[in-house]
């Protein structure tokens, strides 16, 4: 076993300097948890609670924080590259769809699979299009393809299915579960859609509003395969919210899409570039 991808996170503080008044903004505080190899871990919390910062630290992009992030006993930048899907699609506008995915692959065998993967996510007619010619949702799908094409041992996804319509999002969720299962990738999946988290995850971490702290660490014991609209998921969701009203307050106050009792589907507007 060469690749384990055990992630150990021990961050006492992550702050940002605010330029306008020189003050310090604490976004994360006392975040301590570890993710087992192959675990699908969702991180749920209101916007602005530091979820993206957390992914940046795990990916090795952000090394400016107090504490440590250790992947398989080393620094994040020492291990194999993760697949990272940013909140915005961040495609290279001068590269065609296929070239954008090709950019992150060096292995000729993987390159052969690009068209197949693009077909699986419904972009077979757009492989030669430039990102500017795609809709926001299609660009997200390309970004997802770029993140998973190498079937990386570690996958970081920042609200990947935001603003996609439900059938497409569900198809992509299934694809994601497939890909992760194939290589037993370790996944960190940021969302503020609890239903989505419970459908996908082995484990859900709830983070409070800023400064973000872990308020609940829940192992999801619903058997796979699950269905996205399954009753067991809805029951678990209601149960969690009932037992932990503080989750609810966090999500509702800052999430902007709070709808505690009913449908919290992922269909709210979000700027996508």
């Amino acid at each position: 076993m060469a690749i384990l991808n055990m992630i150990e996170i021990d961050v006492s503080r992550k702050t940002y300097h605010r330029d306008h008044d020189q003050s310090e903004l604490v976004v994360l505080r006392d975040i301590r948890f570890s993710v087992e190899p192959g675990q699908f871990c969702c991180v749920v919390g209101p916007s602005g609670c530091g979820k993206t910062s957390l992914l940046n630290m795990i990916s090795g992009l952000d090394e400016d924080f107090s504490g440590s992030v250790i992947i398989d006993g080393g620094a994040p930048s020492a291990g194999p590259p993760p697949g990272y899907m940013f909140q915005a699609s961040r495609l290279m506008p001068w590269l065609r769809v296929r070239e954008n995915v090709e950019l992150v692959t060096d292995d000729p065998e993987t390159r052969v699979k690009i068209d197949e993967l693009l077909g699986e996510i419904g972009l077979e007619d757009f492989v030669d299009a430039y990102p500017a010619q795609l809709s926001g949702g299609m660009r997200r799908r390309v970004a997802l393809a770029r993140a998973i094409i190498n079937e990386p041992p570690l996958l970081l996804l920042d609200e990947p299915f935001l603003s996609l319509d439900t059938p497409v999002a569900n198809r992509l969720r299934r694809l994601l579960i497939d890909v992760c299962g194939r290589r037993s990738s370790t996944v960190l999946f940021v969302t503020h859609d609890l239903r989505e988290a419970l459908y996908l995850a082995d484990r859900v971490l709830f983070i409070s509003s800023r400064p973000g702290e872990i308020v609940l660490d829940h192992l999801v014991d619903i058997q796979r395969p699950r269905t996205p609209e399954g009753e067991d998921i809805e029951l678990l969701r209601l149960d969690l919210l009932k037992k932990n009203p503080q989750l609810l307050s966090g999500l509702v106050e800052n999430g902007g899409n709070g709808n505690p009792g009913g449908t919290n589907v992922i269909n709210h507007p979000h700027p996508d570039c």
């Binding site: 990916s59 930048s77 065609r96 992150v104 500017a132």
Partner: protein, 253 residues
């Protein structure tokens, strides 16, 4: 349907304005002494005559060689320094003053000083032209380097792209618009300054020839040389830079 009509009429507008220009010129020439303003046909005959004698091509090539060398020289150094200044605040602060000085230095001053310091040679001539072009490239490329999208560089970093991919597929494409703008304005500026340099201190090239015809009051030959050279520069623009622009900027359409 409107846009297509507009697009179709554009070549006709171009050709129409050219014909109008020649017509006005011809008309003006009819009222003025031939020595002062020769007509377009006379100038054309003069071009053919100079071409047949061979000296036009010789001087044209001499000038083009100087344009090319000083252009490449100024672009290479200007792009490098521009990127450094755009990326690094310290370098920017340290060199900004010198840059403003260089931008405001009159072309004639650099030319005269280069000739005085390095002698009336090829090196001084090309250096003088390059010094005139260089600061403009720096300013342009600094702007480009400042506008680099950090989010895309993060993508390159997160996926651990090697330096070649990072440079050629993530960084450089963001600078293409600035490179092309520099090349365009550069070509126009460089060839004008090369003529002055040749007039003042070389014994061949279009500028040198213009100096001679100036002394002989030969306006026809002056116009013949000028238009030939303009045609060459336009050919470079349309055959080289415009296709390159179209290729590199294809994703924008």
């Amino acid at each position: 349907m409107k846009p297509s009509i507009r697009i179709r009429s554009i070549p006709w507008l171009r050709i129409g304005s050219l014909i109008l220009f020649i017509a006005v010129w011809q008309l003006a020439a009819a009222f003025v002494d031939r020595q002062i303003l020769p007509g377009p046909y006379q100038v054309l005959l003069s071009v053919i005559e100079h071409l047949e004698r061979g000296e036009l091509v010789f001087h044209l090539l001499a000038t083009l060689a100087r344009v090319l060398i000083s252009f490449v020289f100024a672009m290479a150094l200007g792009v490098a320094l521009g990127i450094v200044m755009g990326r690094n605040r310290n370098w920017d602060a340290a060199l900004d003053g010198v840059l403003i000085l260089a931008l405001n230095l009159p072309a004639l001053v650099t030319i005269v000083l280069c000739y005085l310091w390095f002698g009336l040679g090829e090196f001084a001539a090309i250096l003088a032209v390059a010094i005139n072009k260089f600061p403009i490239v720096v300013v342009n490329m600094r702007e480009g380097a400042r506008a680099i999208d950090q989010d895309l560089l993060q993508v390159a970093k997160a996926f651990r792209l090697d330096w070649r991919k990072r440079w050629l597929q993530v960084y450089l494409p963001q600078l293409y618009p600035y490179l092309l703008a520099s090349a365009r304005s550069g070509l126009a500026l460089v060839w004008k300054i090369v003529l002055v340099v040749e007039l003042l201190g070389r014994s061949n090239g279009v500028g040198f020839q213009l100096g001679i015809y100036f002394q002989f009051f030969d306006i026809t030959s002056i116009l013949a040389y000028s238009f030939t050279f303009i045609a060459v520069v336009m050919a470079i623009e349309y055959l080289l830079i415009t296709p390159l622009d179209r290729r590199l900027m294809k994703w924008r359409s």
